[in-house]
């Protein structure tokens, strides 16, 4: 919503417009953080000190991919702030690729769409299944919207929009992307690291 507010928006001067937009974006992120906090609360309420056995290699790999993608998103923003359009486009596209890799990893392996026998843990498997699929699902949806938003600014940047002086759209998308990453920084330990693995009963 506030994410893409453009150069020519409304009748406020650009600097003031940008300041108001920043209010809007950060308020929205505060709001979102309550939703993610609610999911974390659900995890601790339902699991307490236990956790299901999840694929640790996959978890570490996904986390690394997402953190590296934040680096490239930052690089893209810095590039456009220096009017370096080719670097902006390259870094933004790399972020999209890494974000998509993360999504494929979650859906294909964590959710088991690409596994021949299906997933080890299914959504119907009690609070373990519900929380794993719920948290990764809500987060993946946000990653997906982030990828689409980066694609939108990449597309506009290729058509010559944004400059060192006026690139609110890029800033907004970058902040949103870092936010979604930050959420994962909390979700990853909550799902993969904290608590005792419950030994399977068979």
């Amino acid at each position: 919503m506030a994410v893409l507010h453009s150069v020519h928006e409304h009748d406020l001067p650009y600097a003031r417009r940008e300041r108001v937009n920043r209010w809007g974006l950060w308020l929205f992120l505060i709001s979102e953080s309550f939703m993610f906090a609610g999911l974390l609360a659900a995890r601790f309420y339902l699991w307490g000190g236990t956790r299901p056995p999840l694929d640790q290699t996959l978890g570490l790999l996904l986390t690394s991919i997402l953190l590296v993608s934040s680096f490239f998103m930052n690089r893209a923003e810095v590039a456009i702030a220096h009017d370096d359009r080719p670097e902006f486009l390259r870094s933004a596209m790399l972020t999209v690729v890494l974000g998509t890799a993360f999504l494929v990893g979650v859906v294909g392996w964590e959710w088991g769409l690409f596994l021949p026998d299906g997933p080890h843990l299914r959504p119907t498997d009690g609070a373990f299944g519900a929380v794993v699929y719920g948290l990764t699902g809500f987060h993946a949806f946000h990653v997906l919207t982030g990828v689409l938003a980066i694609l939108a600014v990449w597309h506009l940047g290729r058509r010559g929009h944004f400059s060192a002086r006026q690139h609110w759209g890029v800033e907004a998308v970058a902040v949103y992307w870092h936010f979604v990453d930050l959420v994962w920084v909390f979700f990853y330990p909550a799902l993969y690291l904290i608590g005792q693995v419950v030994a399977a009963g068979h």
């Binding site: 308020l27 309550f34 659900a42 236990t50 959504p123 119907t124 373990f128 030994a199 399977a200 009963g201």
Partner: protein, 622 residues
Amino acid sequence: MRHVLTTGLVRGLVGQAVGFALGVYTARAWGATDWRADGPLAWAAVLSVLGFMLASGMVSDWLGWLAGNFAPPRHGAPPGKPRWWRYWSVDYDHKVIGIQYGVTALVLVGLAGSVALIFRSELSKPGIDFLEPAVFNTLIGWHGIVMIAGILTGVAAMANYLVPLMVGARDMAFPRLNAFAYWINVPGVVLVVLALFLRWETGWTGYPPLGVQTMPGAIPFYLGVFVIGFSSILGAVNILATAFGMRAQGMTLFRMPIFVWSMVATSIIALTATQLIGLSFVLVVLERVFGMTFFSPTLTESAQALGSPPGQPLLFQHLFWFYSHPAVYVFILPGLGIISELLPVFARKPLFGYKWVAMASLAIALVGFLVWGHHMFTSGMSDIMRVTMMWTTLLVAVPTGVKFFNWLGTMWGGKLTFPTPMLFVLGALSIFLIGGLSGPPNGTVSTDLFLHDTYWIVGHFHATMFGGFVYPYIAAIYYWYPKVTGRMYNETLGKIHFWLMTPAFWTMSLGQMLAGLWGMRRRIVDYDPALGVAGLQTAVTIAAHVIFLSMLIFAFNLVWSAFRGKVAAANPWRSRSPEFQVPSPVPDENYPAPVVVVSEPYEYGGPEPYVVFAHGPAAADD
């Protein structure tokens, strides 16, 4: 007729129907046999909301951005259309959106009220007369949730119309987002109406496990409420950004009109807490559609084999009340703001203790986050939580008391006049007082164990809602009616409205509380004649009908006066507020020149005006 078909509303509804049909069709193609099964219904409901937003033209500008088209939002009346057209279509003017919200609120409150009369009549004597229990249960849930939607849209109406005017801005911070937040309500309400026909039996709270097991109406109920909550969040973003980023020159935080302060406090709650009702409702939908057991305390065999813990019904109540308690402050804080705004005008005196009133709003909002557990005293929460929540709950009385005494201080020694808006403000005070005083018994664990789930709660809740929202909202409508329409409402009808409604409401609310003390349970279609509450129930039913009648007079007054009322002056109440310094109705651009604040907002009798209009770079004296 041609123009009717091109309105955003009609196009949106057609889009919603198409979206829904597409959802049902694709679900069939994927092998679903019954569209009322949870999966197909949820899928169709989601597509129907997207269909509405696409077809109404709400997202066209944003889609245009992708094509590199960054035209500024259209302002003013659309060319080639009749004057009424913009009120039924996507429009970015905050005043148009405020009126759209306001009318929607009255329609929703009217619908929910009519439904209340139906089950109220059923309850007027013992025995089941004409409502099956399942229908009764659906109706009480529908009454509750549609009233909440009506109140939220009513709050948004006041916020959208007044906040930009009061801070001296030309529009909200994000005009498109503002329109989006209004229009997303409409498909949400349509879904809730669908729920009425498909039925669900949990009441408005939607508690699982029943919420997971009840009839298919639960799906459109949960998703419709989610969508309405989304509107609330986006509206809060906009109001906070407007209050913090769009204020006129010289308007420091403590020179804002007090209503803006109350909307800031309200928006802090709506911004954050709303996420949790949205989350809890989506999780129930996920549980119904995908079998993800967040809340049902059951385990499948394979879950047992994995050693998974079960779902917890109490988790839902925590998530749900983390919003739904603060939500009542979303409903009443704007109303209390209206009271604080109007009393100085009709007492011709400064608002007593302005800073205290402003800070009390914030305090109510912040303490409100820590009290949700008082809805769960009988749910099996730990004793530590119960006692903690009891203390925090009783703490809310402190800032509320601060407000009350400041209102008394404002009236003390004032030159009071009693036109209709002032009557409703005083009515609000009297009713909010009963609502407030009947609160501590529910907030105290030992007494709540007896009062929980009785009609006492119903009486208490309706008194807080009428005193905190309904009366102030009506007062606000009468008060700003000349500003909005350019015509005066009929004063005699206004007074009749007040004098019918107020005694009837007292009868209803006190009657409900008394019936509760005598043992009448809430949310139940039948009761034992031996309780001795039949007489009270009859009285409450008659009172409810009188309230409805008075609201019909109100509606008639609003419609009739819009066409036949006396032409209103620019400032009929001699208010200092900026919106009363421009002609009625407020012109398209709001102010002829930038607003400059030169003194305090409520210095009635003081030498200086509150605001002047800057002509050119320097402020001119006029």
